[in-house]
Amino acid sequence: MNIGHSLLIVAVTAISTLATRATPFILFSGKKRRVPNFIIYLSNLLPPAVMAILVVYALKELSFSSLEGYFPSLCAVGVTVVLHLIKRNTLLSIFGGVTVNMILVQHFHL
C-alpha cells in the first residue's frame, strides 16, 4: 500500500462526492433556470443501473473455474435476496448474507 496515493484516492473521492452533491445547487438555484430534460431523465434512470453494476463490481472476483470460486458468494447472494424478500430488513439481509459467506469461505473447502 502506497500512503501518498491512498491519501490522494480518499481526497479525490471526497471532492468528487461533494461535486455531485453541490452540482444541482450551483447549476439550478438561479431564479428561473429550468433543469434540462436529460438531467432529470438520467437522475431517474442512472441510479438503478449503477447499483446493478455495483453488484457485479462487488462480485468481480468470482471465478467459475472451481466450485470454491463461486459457490460461497452465489449462496450468500441467494440468502441475502431471499431474506430481504421475506423480512425486508436491510441489516438482517446483509448480516445473513455475510454470515453464510463467512461460514462457507472458512469451513467448506470443496
Partner: protein, 212 residues
C-alpha cells in the same frame, strides 16, 4: 441505528484492507457517502489511477444530482448552514428529510433538518471508527466479511426492484456490467460499464423517457 451498523461494516472492511481507524475516521468525516465508501475500499486495495476515482465517484453518486434537485428550495432559508446540508445529503439523510417534509413540519424545520444531518454523520463516523478499531483485534477469522459490500448493493437492487423503480434500467445495468466484465476483466471493467450505461440510457431516451 442502522447507519452505525453499516458504518461498522465499512470500518471492518477498510481495516482488513490494511488501513487503520484513522483512515476510517477521516473517510467518514470528509467523504461521507455510504455506498461510495465501500467502493472506496476496493479502489484503495487496487490502487487505481485518480482519473478512475473521479469517474467512478461521479457515476456511483449520480443519484445525488436527483437528491439535490428536490431540496434547492428547502435549503434556501438555511443561509450558511446549507453548505453543510449539501455536503451531508446522503441516502439516509435524504430519505429522512423527505419523510420530514411529507409530515409537514413547519416550525423549527431548519434546525430539525440540520440536527438530522449532523446526527446521521455522527452515527456513521462512530460506527466506522469503532469497526476499524474492533477489526484490529477481533479474535476470530474474518475471511469472507468482504461480502458486506456485495450484500449492501444486492439489498439496494432488490429494494429498487420491489419499489418498481425503473426495472429496465436495472436490467441494462446488469447486462452492461457482465458484458464489460467479460471483455475487460475484473480490474478494468467498471469505467467501461458505467460509460456504456450512460450512453445506452441516453440513446434509449426516446423510448424509456416517454413514461415520465
Amino acid at each position: 441505528m442502522g447507519y452505525s451498523v453499516l458504518g461498522l461494516a465499512f470500518g471492518l472492511l477498510i481495516q482488513k484492507a490494511g488501513y487503520n481507524w484513522i483512515w476510517a475516521l477521516f473517510s467518514s468525516l470528509f467523504v461521507y457517502a455510504g455506498s461510495m465508501q465501500f467502493v472506496l475500499v476496493s479502489l484503495l486495495i487496487n490502487q487505481v489511477p485518480l482519473a478512475t476515482v473521479v469517474v467512478t465517484t461521479l457515476l456511483v453518486n449520480s443519484r445525488h444530482l436527483f437528491y439535490g434537485l428536490s431540496f434547492i428550495e428547502k435549503f434556501k432559508g438555511l443561509d450558511k448552514r446549507r453548505y453543510y446540508m449539501i455536503f451531508s445529503l446522503t441516502d439516509e439523510t435524504y430519505a429522512l428529510l423527505t419523510t420530514l417534509s411529507n409530515r409537514g413540519y413547519k416550525e423549527n424545520e431548519d434546525d430539525l433538518m440540520l440536527a438530522i444531518a449532523f446526527l446521521n454523520q455522527l452515527y456513521w463516523i462512530t460506527g466506522s471508527t469503532l469497526g476499524a478499531v474492533l477489526g484490529s483485534f477481533v479474535p476470530f477469522n474474518t475471511d469472507g466479511i468482504e461480502f458486506a459490500m456485495a450484500a449492501l448493493f444486492v439489498v439496494i437492487v432488490v429494494e429498487q426492484f420491489l419499489a418498481n423503480v425503473n426495472r429496465k434500467s436495472t436490467l441494462i445495468g446488469f447486462v452492461c456490467a457482465i458484458t464489460a466484465l467479460m471483455i475487460f476483466g475484473p480490474n478494468q471493467f467498471l469505467i467501461a460499464a458505467l460509460g456504456a450505461v450512460v450512453i445506452i440510457l441516453l440513446l434509449l431516451k426516446p423510448i424509456l423517457g416517454e413514461k415520465r
